[in-house]
């Protein structure tokens, strides 16, 4: 790690713009600064990876089962519509 200069991002700032980064919503210059910081900071790499893990764990793994009586009711509506 080199001495921090005024141009460098601080870790404290990184955690506030990480979503903007993941969303691809950063201005090109900001993205460069972010990538520069990340290249030298294993802790912020870990943080970014944690945020990606949050997204993955939050995702619904399987389709929800539709209650049979709900499905039956909807199928009745579908048959009525077809007529």
């Amino acid at each position: 790690m080199t001495d921090p200069t005024t141009d460098d991002l601080e870790c404290r700032e990184v955690v506030e713009v990480v979503t903007e980064y993941l969303e691809g919503a950063m201005a090109p210059g900001d993205r460069l600064r972010f990538d520069d910081h990340l290249a030298l900071c294993a802790d912020c790499q870990a943080y970014l990876e944690q945020m990606r893990t949050v997204v993955r764990v939050a995702g619904r793994p399987v389709a929800d089962a539709v209650p049979p009586e709900t499905m039956a009711g909807l199928l009745r509506a579908f048959r009525d519509w077809r007529r």
């Binding site: 921090p4 601080e10 870790c11 404290r12 700032e13 955690v15 506030e16 990480v18 979503t19 903007e20 969303e23 919503a25 900071c41 802790d43 912020c44 870990a46 943080y47 990876e49 944690q50 945020m51 893990t53 949050v54 997204v55 993955r56 764990v57 939050a58 995702g59 619904r60 793994p61 389709a63 929800d64 539709v66 709900t70 499905m71 009711g73 909807l74 199928l75 509506a77 579908f78 048959r79 519509w81 077809r82």
Partner: protein
């Protein structure tokens, strides 16, 4: 129905399903219900905030879907089109119930927002490395995948999502739980892109903290 224009959002699979639905194919309808009923219910929930009312909204939305099926022009995916019908009905219902939309109230977007990470985890001003990690996050690279994706870990995340402010919960539910795009989420919740992103950021940051706390506690003694 007009021919789909090149680059339109509807897929070949959707077009086939649509044709079968219009022919009255029950298997196609069952497939559509299985795919969309859950997402429809969760979308209705974030609007009306009440399970029983959300179920009525979805029921009503299905009737709307059938009524409009003949007029659907395929300018969006089938899912987006159906969810738009749900969002419209849910909004109407929320107004009729004299509820302010759960995610437009209390969303606190005007407030400065809490920091994503506790300030004391960074080195204080005056320190040579001020603003850098004092108590850095642990890499989760060594946490076994089956543990991360276990029912217990998922329950921790679900609970953290439930505890979020309504607007944050609405956004993370559509984006990360349902896997919708930012554009879909903005449209279905009536949010600007910027506000959607701020809410997503706050939501994910809070959920990360909960997950970190859980993993740190349970890793002790391993």
């Amino acid at each position: 129905m007009s021919a789909p224009v090149a680059g339109s959002a509807i897929s070949a699979d959707d077009l086939e399903l649509l044709a079968r639905l219009r022919r009255g194919d029950e298997a196609a309808f069952t497939q559509l219900v299985e795919r969309l009923h859950g997402p429809m219910l969760r979308l209705a929930m974030v609007h009306v905030g009440n399970r029983a009312v959300a179920e009525e909204v979805v029921q009503d939305a299905w009737v709307g879907v059938l009524a409009q099926l003949g007029r659907f022009e395929g300018r969006s995916s089938l899912r987006t089109w159906v969810l738009r019908i749900v969002a419209n009905r849910a909004r109407t219902r929320a107004v009729r119930e004299r509820r302010t939309l759960p995610f437009s109230s209390l969303d606190g977007l005007d407030e400065p927002g809490r920091p994503a990470v506790e300030p004391e985890r960074f080195l204080p001003a005056g320190h040579r490395w001020a603003g850098h990690w004092a108590s850095p996050p642990r890499s989760w690279g060594d946490v076994p995948e089956e543990r991360l994706l276990s029912a217990e870990t998922r329950a921790v995340v679900e609970r953290a999502v439930e505890l979020l402010a309504p607007a944050q919960r609405a956004v993370i539910t559509l984006r990360d739980v349902e896997g919708m795009t930012a554009a879909e989420t903005c449209e279905l919740l009536g949010l600007t892109e910027g506000n959607q992103r701020v809410l997503l950021h706050r939501a994910r940051s809070r959920v990360r903290r909960a997950l970190e706390r859980y993993l740190d506690e349970t890793e002790v003694g391993r």
